[in-house]
């Protein structure tokens, strides 16, 4: 089973790295931020699998923190960075 957990964790890391292409490509800032949101979820799954593979329960707390903070950066994006862009568009 450990081999399955680790292979899936590795696979998830690969999908995360592939998703970076969307961050580089854009085109809008929302696309980039959404990719970062997906990375957060992928990281949660990855950490949970590692916790199971190494039989190390405290790692689940790390995943819990990831899950709790999944929204903070994205909310900052929507409320601040993107809102500022909007104002710029209006002023132009």
């Amino acid at each position: 089973m450990e081999i399955l957990y680790l292979s899936i964790a590795l696979f998830l890391l690969l999908t995360l790295v592939a998703g970076l292409w969307r961050v580089l490509q854009g085109p809008t800032s929302a696309d980039r931020m959404l990719a970062a949101q997906l990375f957060g979820t992928t990281a949660v799954a990855c950490v949970l699998l590692l916790a199971q593979a190494f039989e190390y329960p405290p790692l689940r707390d790390v995943a819990l923190i990831f899950a709790l903070l999944a929204a903070v950066a994205a909310v900052a994006f929507i409320r601040r960075a993107w809102a500022a862009e909007e104002q710029n568009d209006v002023s132009d």
Binding site: M1, L4, Y5, I8, F11, L12, T15, L16, A18, G19, W21, R22, T28, A30, D31, M33, L34, A35, Q37, L38, G40, T41, T42, V44, A45, L48, L49, Q52, P57, R60, A63, L64, A67, L68, A70, A71, A74, V75, I78, W82, E85, E86, D89
Partner: protein, 98 residues
């Protein structure tokens, strides 16, 4: 191999496939709204299946509860963010792909 092990392996693999589908959607779909659609599948179903697979292996009810809590938190975050991004994108006038 126990039945639960086979079942949880299948769930984990299915979860990984959903993550793959989410990433492919993120890379291949044409605009921000369709990408949101792909993304929430990975968030909700992909992580849900992975969590379900791990819950079957959990050593106690507290562990299972914590895993479910993590999934619910990610659900809450991703659903809200998807809604907020889509709303903001509409307001900014990003057009729908036809």
């Amino acid at each position: 191999m126990l039945v639960t092990e086979i079942l949880s392996s299948l769930l984990l693999i299915a979860g990984a496939i959903f993550f793959l589908a989410g990433t492919v959607g993120l890379l291949r779909f044409p605009d921000v709204y369709t990408r949101l659609h792909a993304l929430t599948k990975a968030d909700n179903v992909g992580l849900g299946l992975v969590v379900a697979g791990l819950v079957l292996q959990a050593e106690s009810w507290t562990v299972a509860g914590k895993l479910l809590l993590i999934w619910l938190l990610v659900l809450l975050a991703s659903a809200s963010i998807a809604h907020l991004v889509a709303k903001a994108a509409r307001k900014k006038g990003i057009e729908l792909w036809k």
